[in-house]
């Protein structure tokens, strides 16, 4: 089975500066992008038409996520606020002040009731979506600076990757550490993603490799080499067999997960970009994804056989 990328929409100069986060809404109708230019833009998912701009942050937007209903967007920024927006109306619902370094990245859990944020001390705060200042649970690690946090598809595990080559898998209920993983030669691990069946965890790092871990047993089953730059983003495909990655080497790679003792293989590489590919997000129906680059470009691809 060979897969290929086909691009169908392109948006040059989507922002005035580097695009650092992108998210295809779980409801499928819109794509949100956040940038170093302090703005968040909402785009129509099929055509790429600009729907609206969410203004309010006064410094770079470093992360964003959309809740499962597709109505609410939460954004994180270096201006030390968490902002919660109504996507369709375009207004700011909540504006939470945080301390510098308290919130480095964040993600909604799968039912949208909670929002997890990772901090510079390697901890995760689980916040109530209806009141983001209320922290219902805290997960602690010896990790230095949380770069990425991810919920497992069944909502039971929280994964945290850190600046010093550590991945912690926490049990959401009990806050206990289930597994402590490593494997990137001391380098920062910038991105994580679970496969939809929850069996595997994919990690991307500045050591230019991607690791695949078995979640239940807590061991590394594969190391994927091929990128020639920091791996900025990874995203698992809905078929549990593939994933995509973006890097500072300006390439997007499509990988096939190994069966049994095979090696993970690169199925296809997109080399057309001239700047870092910073962020990737799949559509909920799993056959398209959108990327954001340092070249102010948003590009939509679909994966065809």
């Amino acid at each position: 089975m060979s897969l290929q990328f086909i691009s169908f929409v392109e948006k040059p100069k989507a922002h005035k500066s580097q695009i650092w986060s992108v998210r295809w809404s779980p409801s499928g109708n819109v794509v949100a992008s956040g940038s170093l230019d302090n703005e968040i833009k909402i785009w129509e998912a099929q055509s790429g038409e600009h729907y609206r701009t969410l203004e309010g942050h006064i410094l770079a937007v470093t992360g964003l996520d959309i809740n499962p209903t597709g109505k609410i967007l939460i954004s994180i920024s270096f201006d030390n606020t968490i902002k919660r927006w109504d996507i369709l109306e375009g207004n700011l619902i909540n504006d939470i002040e945080t301390k510098p370094g308290e919130v480095c990245c964040g993600q909604y859990n799968k039912d949208g009731k909670y929002f997890a944020t990772a901090s510079q001390h390697g901890t995760i705060d689980l916040r109530n979506d209806s009141n983001l200042e209320e922290i219902v649970a805290t997960y602690t690690s010896e990790g230095k600076y949380g770069l990425c946090c991810r919920f497992s598809p069944d909502n039971k595990i929280l994964a945290l990757s850190t600046d010093n080559d550590k991945i912690y898998l926490f049990d959401v209920e009990s806050t206990k550490v289930l597994h402590k993983l490593s494997g990137h030669s001391g380098n920062p691990i910038r991105c994580l993603d679970f496969t939809p069946d929850g069996k595997h965890l994919i990690s991307g790092s500045d050591d230019e490799t991607i690791n695949i871990y078995d979640v239940k047993h807590g061991n590394q089953i594969s190391k994927c080499t091929g990128h020639e730059g920091y791996v900025m983003c990874v995203a698992a495909a809905s078929d549990n067999k593939h994933f995509v990655s973006g890097s500072t080497d300006c390439k997007i790679k499509l990988w096939q997960l190994p069966e049994k003792n095979e090696k993970t293989q690169v199925v296809d590489t997109i080399e057309e970009h001239k700047e870092t590919v910073s962020c990737i997000s799949w559509s909920p129906d799993g056959d398209k994804f959108v990327v954001g680059t340092d070249n102010l470009l948003l590009k939509w691809y679909c994966v065809a056989k």
Partner: protein, 358 residues
């Protein structure tokens, strides 16, 4: 008598402290008044108290950014916020140190000779303890009297800080030839289209608690003010070249806006026209700085970066650079240019000058 500005309808009220150059006799008289007040206290059987001002207490609040001048300036209120008690239990030496400094400055002014802060420190090492104490008291005295430090006949020592094809002819006609020294700052003079551009290259070593060198800041300020007789624009463009890290950016900010501790005299110390030549994050890719030269930022770097980002008056491009350092998590030193295959320091500078934007 104090020089009180008259308020005109068209003038904006003077929110900020201004230092005024005062003649020797004025300063001598001020010092003698302070001592007279102490004698008066003693005669009235009151414990003597010296009224002064603190530059470090409430550092964040005693100054703010002034959009009109483009620098940080000391607010014109609450000036006398420090009382030095003779009978202090916390710091019994403070009073004595202050008297000794008043004494030394008084003597310098009477004899009309100058001394550096270091000279003063060596006059009584045991009493002062360290040279920072002397620095602090002299700056506080200058702030309290609202005069530049030089009016106390205390000059900044600038030996060995500047190098390059530059000769400075000083007031006493002696020539400071900077081509012979090796030091912290290099000045490159690059001719381009009949315009002379001076580039400042800082090669500092940042030790904890080091004070930003006042002499150098004064020199840069003076250079930036030079004008040809018939022109109103300064004929030198000052470009700052620092390490690509939060500490380097902080030094850039001190050159541009002035420091908080010396905010009462930033008009003479800050160079608001300075532009940031480099090292920038975009240089990593453009000049192919090898990844092995990039250093992971520490939590101290992050803390400093967050702190810098809170300054609302920084231009958007500077904020973006700080965000880039935080986001990517790497910093680079100027030395990393030596590790590049296709560029060296001078070619980098020449190339960058064409791209000055901020």
């Amino acid at each position: 008598m104090e020089n009180i500005k008259e308020r005109n309808v068209n003038d904006t009220y003077n929110d900020f402290l201004e230092t005024t150059y005062r003649p020797r006799t004025w300063v001598i008289q001020k010092i003698e008044s302070m001592i007279e007040k102490l004698l008066f206290d003693i005669a009235k059987k009151r414990p003597p108290v010296i009224n002064s001002v603190s530059n470090i207490k409430c550092k964040e609040n005693h100054s703010r950014y002034d959009a009109q001048s483009g620098i940080i300036r000391r607010k014109n209120n609450n000036l006398s916020n420090k009382q030095i008690q003779f009978l202090s239990t916390k710091n019994p030496k403070t009073f004595v140190i202050m008297i000794r400094i008043l004494d030394i400055c008084h003597e310098l002014l009477i004899q009309n000779i100058t001394a550096t802060k270091r000279d003063i420190y060596y006059k009584d090492v045991k009493l002062f303890g360290n040279s920072q104490t002397v620095d602090l008291v002299i700056d506080e005295l200058a702030c309290f009297f609202q005069i530049p430090r030089s009016c106390l006949n205390v000059i900044a020592s600038a030996k060995g800080l500047v190098a390059g094809s530059l000769k400075i002819i000083q007031k006493d006609r002696s020539i400071l030839d900077c081509s012979k020294t090796s030091c912290n700052i290099s000045i490159y003079i690059i001719e381009q289209n009949a315009r002379t551009i001076w580039t400042l290259h800082l090669n500092y070593s940042v030790a904890k608690g080091i004070r930003f060198d006042i002499a150098t800041r004064q020199l840069v300020k003076n250079l930036s003010d030079l004008r040809r007789p018939d022109e109103s624009c300064p004929f030198l463009q000052i470009l700052g070249f620092f390490d690509n890290d939060p500490y380097g950016i902080e030094i850039l900010c001190v050159y541009k806006f002035g420091s908080l501790t010396m905010s009462f005299d930033n008009e003479n110390l800050a160079t608001p026209g300075i532009k940031w030549l480099g090292l920038h994050c975009s240089d990593w890719k453009k000049y192919r700085i090898s990844k092995s030269s990039l250093i992971r930022i520490s939590s101290a770097d992050r803390k400093k970066a967050y702190h810098l980002l809170q300054r609302n008056y920084l231009q958007a491009e500077w904020k973006k650079e700080i965000c880039l350092i935080l986001y990517m998590g790497y910093k680079a030193e100027i030395q990393s240019l030596n590790d590049c295959e296709n560029v060296n320091l001078l070619s980098y500078l020449v190339s960058k000058i064409n791209y000055i934007r901020f």
